[in-house]
């Protein structure tokens, strides 16, 4: 049975880590060149091109851009300094920006969020790393009763540009509290914004957009997607932070998810295609607010929707989507909106995680049920 340490060590495997390092170095190099040139208004912006990065390193690169762009941006968290965080997402950043920009804090999540609020009141833009999904709850009070309402209490005079990065989700074979999906608690809370990238390109841009936001943003990082690499266009962001996107076109059934679930949905779509069923895959990207535009447009065409998530199903983001789509696309639906999710139990011991987590087959089972109506 593999524990968190095994998963983390994958980053240090010869080849993988080195390759990632080189790729990030290329980013550094070209940025350094760009900034070395005298700034001229009529100069063409430096083209940095498309790089192949893991999501972890794409977030590192995005954090580096944000730290460079605004000296008020601070990173705060546990073990994020010399160690670079347990997932190495902040690797090298303290060496580059110093310990007044990248803070290894005392080991106290409520303290981290609470002091970040004070720093934001002073004009800073703190970016917090919560070490693992299940460890966000000591900070739940500060996030839900304070952070989410400070701007409101001050009548807009005191914005809270704080980002809370949360590695979340299963598939890494770890112990209790290390594989959870607590995003619904925060999507339920007014005053917070909640996003989750599914691929390295979105991760790179969405972290920078989250940091630029003057509202608090919960940035859920699907940790099982930290390592697979993908193209990152360093010059073109694409769609705004809170928009969803159709990532694979299809005609028979719409399937929607966020974070790591998008990869599962794409696998399901491949399998379904082989069986003659065409799935349209929507990457939600933003959980609060939810952008229903592409989703409704898709459901109007397919008439069928399956919502998938790793989180518990009861009173979840998927429940909200199912209810909203039923309200807004009632006459387009050929079948009830069906949900595929983690079961309404604590995340089980890792030996059972493959049975607990929605798989392509579980998605396809729901697709079959939707088509049977």
């Amino acid at each position: 049975m593999s524990l968190a340490g095994d998963a983390i060590r994958r980053l240090d495997e010869p080849g993988t880590a080195e390759a990632q390092h080189q790729e990030v170095s290329v980013t550094n190099h070209s940025t350094a060149e760009a900034s070395a040139r005298p700034a001229q208004q009529d100069a063409e912006p430096a083209v940095r091109g498309v790089q192949t990065l893991s999501m972890a390193k794409a977030i590192t690169a995005g954090l580096r851009e944000a730290l460079r762009a605004d000296e008020k941006v601070l990173l705060m968290g546990e073990d994020i300094g010399p160690l670079g965080g347990v997932f190495r997402v902040t690797e090298g950043l303290q060496a580059e920006f110093g310990d007044r920009r990248v803070l290894d804090t005392p080991l106290a999540e409520s303290g981290i969020v609470g002091t970040a609020i004070g720093l934001a009141m002073r004009g800073y833009r703190p970016v917090i790393e919560i070490q693992f999904d299940g460890f966000i709850f000591p900070a739940f009070d500060q996030i839900t009763t304070q952070l989410s309402r400070i701007n409101l209490r001050h009548g807009g005079a005191m914005p809270m540009p704080i980002v809370i990065r949360v590695p979340y989700g299963g598939h890494i074979g770890s112990i209790e509290h290390h594989q959870e999906s607590p995003e619904a608690y925060f999507a339920h809370t007014p005053g917070l914004r909640v996003v989750s990238p599914s691929n390295p390109h979105d991760a790179y841009w969405m972290i920078q957009e989250a940091i630029a936001s003057n509202d608090p943003v919960l940035y859920f990082e699907p940790k099982s997607r930290y390592w697979p690499k993908g193209p990152v266009d360093l010059d073109h962001a694409g769609i705004p932070l809170h928009e969803s996107r159709i990532v694979r076109q299809g005609t028979d059934v719409t399937v929607v998810g966020h974070g790591a679930m998008v990869a599962t949905l794409l696998q399901a779509a491949d399998i379904a295609a082989g069986e003659g069923t065409s799935l349209e895959v929507v990457d939600l990207r933003s959980l609060s607010p939810i952008d229903y535009g592409p989703l409704l447009e898709s459901v109007h065409r397919t008439g069928r929707l399956v919502v998938a998530q790793e989180a518990y199903g009861n009173v979840s983001v998927g429940s909200e989507i199912a209810a909203t789509v039923a309200e807004r696309a009632f006459y387009s639906l050929e079948a009830p909106v069906l949900r595929v999710s983690g079961f309404d139990t604590p995340f089980p011991p890792a030996a059972l995680e493959t049975e607990y987590l929605p798989s392509p087959d579980r998605v396809l089972e729901a697709v079959d049920r939707a088509l049977a109506f």
Binding site: V113, T115, M121, R153, A157, P159
Partner: protein, 377 residues
């Protein structure tokens, strides 16, 4: 086997005795010069502030009883702790209250009608700290503000806005909380962060003996002043009903904080003479004997006796009473004139940037309400 120490008593800094005599305790001697440096006008202002606070309490309680406030939170008995500490702050300092420090806000320039609008249910905030002497908003989840204050103090330090040696610009943070709040995890985490980052900050605990109905002995068997020591910062217990002790010790602590010497902790031992709030009946949990005892230690009575001994005139005290009466009447009149909030304020500022649900739900509610009262016709 060596017996372990179980005597946790600490000395108390007291300058004025309950009888109103300036007779500093041994621990108070180092602070005496700070009081001796005060001119008559400042000393008289302390008295004026305390009487204003007590008179506002009467007005607030009356407004609540008349159905004009959801709640009033009295400060009766705690005037010396609040006035002395607030008067020790400088304009550039930031003060983070809990929810009972009305006179602290007034001293910092806040119009108390803003506090009444909060307690009247017209707003969730009430004022902009930047426009009101850096007096931050009341925080109703106990001890949450200790972390905000500590983060703010970290920011002051990161900005190089303390520790430069210039007393006109170096800033510090003063954070208020109570004996009940010391049991909250956030209060401990704030001390951890403050000690770790050596923030320019003073933790000011008003130990008023009661957390609603639970005595301080349930929060801690040892003096709360020891809390700061355990986290690695200088800690002092003061007689919280002695405005001179409150002023002098806070002044010294804030100066050290501004000078970059790190955070410190003050326990002001005082007493909540009235109820926790107007929703509470203190006769259910404490004795009249206890209240009578603390009446003999009243902060205003003792300070008045001392001022009288120094030659303050009867006219001065009469004038202060009349001013406080006028002040409270004016606050009352303007509180009654406070407008009701409009329905869009439910949605405004929930987010700083546009949010589709806010726009959508406000539009729906407005349409719905107009359909009921006919104003949509």
């Amino acid at each position: 086997m060596v017996a372990r120490e179980r005597d946790f008593t600490v000395p108390t800094v007291q300058l004025l005795t309950p009888e109103g005599q300036l007779r500093p305790s041994a621990e108070a001697e180092p602070y005496l010069h700070l009081v001796e440096a005060l001119d008559d006008a400042t000393l008289e202002q302390f008295y004026r502030d305390m009487v204003t606070s007590r008179r506002l309490d009467v007005a607030g309680a009356n407004l609540q009883r008349q159905g004009q406030l959801a709640l009033w939170v009295p400060s009766h008995g705690q005037e010396a702790a609040q006035v002395g500490s607030a008067r020790a702050s400088r304009p550039q300092d930031h003060l983070f209250p809990s929810y009972r420090e009305h006179i602290v806000g007034i001293i910092r320039g806040l119009d108390p009608v803003a506090i009444l609008s909060l307690l009247r249910g017209a707003t969730l905030g009430g004022w902009d700290p930047a426009q009101n002497g850096n007096f931050h908003l009341y925080t109703l989840v106990l001890a949450s503000q200790t972390l905000h204050a500590t983060g703010y103090a970290m920011g002051i330090q990161f900005d190089g806005a303390s520790g430069t040696g210039d007393p006109e610009t170096d800033a510090a943070v003063l954070v208020y909380y109570g004996d009940g709040s010391t049991s909250q995890g956030d209060a401990s985490e704030a001390l951890v962060f403050a000690a770790s980052y050596r923030t320019p900050e003073v933790f000011f605990v008003q130990n008023n003996q009661w957390a609603i109905s639970v005595p301080v002995s349930r929060q801690s068997p040892s003096p709360l002043a020891l809390r700061g020591t355990g986290f690695g910062m200088p800690s002092v217990q003061i007689d919280g009903n002695d405005v001179l002790a409150s002023y002098a010790v806070t002044r010294q602590s804030l100066e050290e904080a501004r000078a970059g010497e790190g955070p410190s902790f003050i326990e002001a031992v005082t007493y909540r003479m009235g109820a926790h709030t107007t929703a509470d009946d203190p006769t259910k949990y404490r004795t009249q004997d206890e209240v009578d005892l603390w009446t003999t230690r009243d902060p205003i009575t003792r300070y008045r006796a001392w001022l009288e001994g120094r030659g303050a005139s009867a006219a001065f005290f009469d004038d202060v009473d009349a001013e406080a009466q006028d002040f409270a009447a004016d606050v009352r009149r303007r509180a009654l004139e406070l407008p009701s909030p409009t329905r869009e304020t439910i949605f405004e500022h929930v987010y700083h940037e546009p949010h589709p649900l806010m726009a959508e739900q406000y539009a729906w509610l407005d349409r719905f309400e107009r359909s009921l009262d006919g104003s949509d016709a």
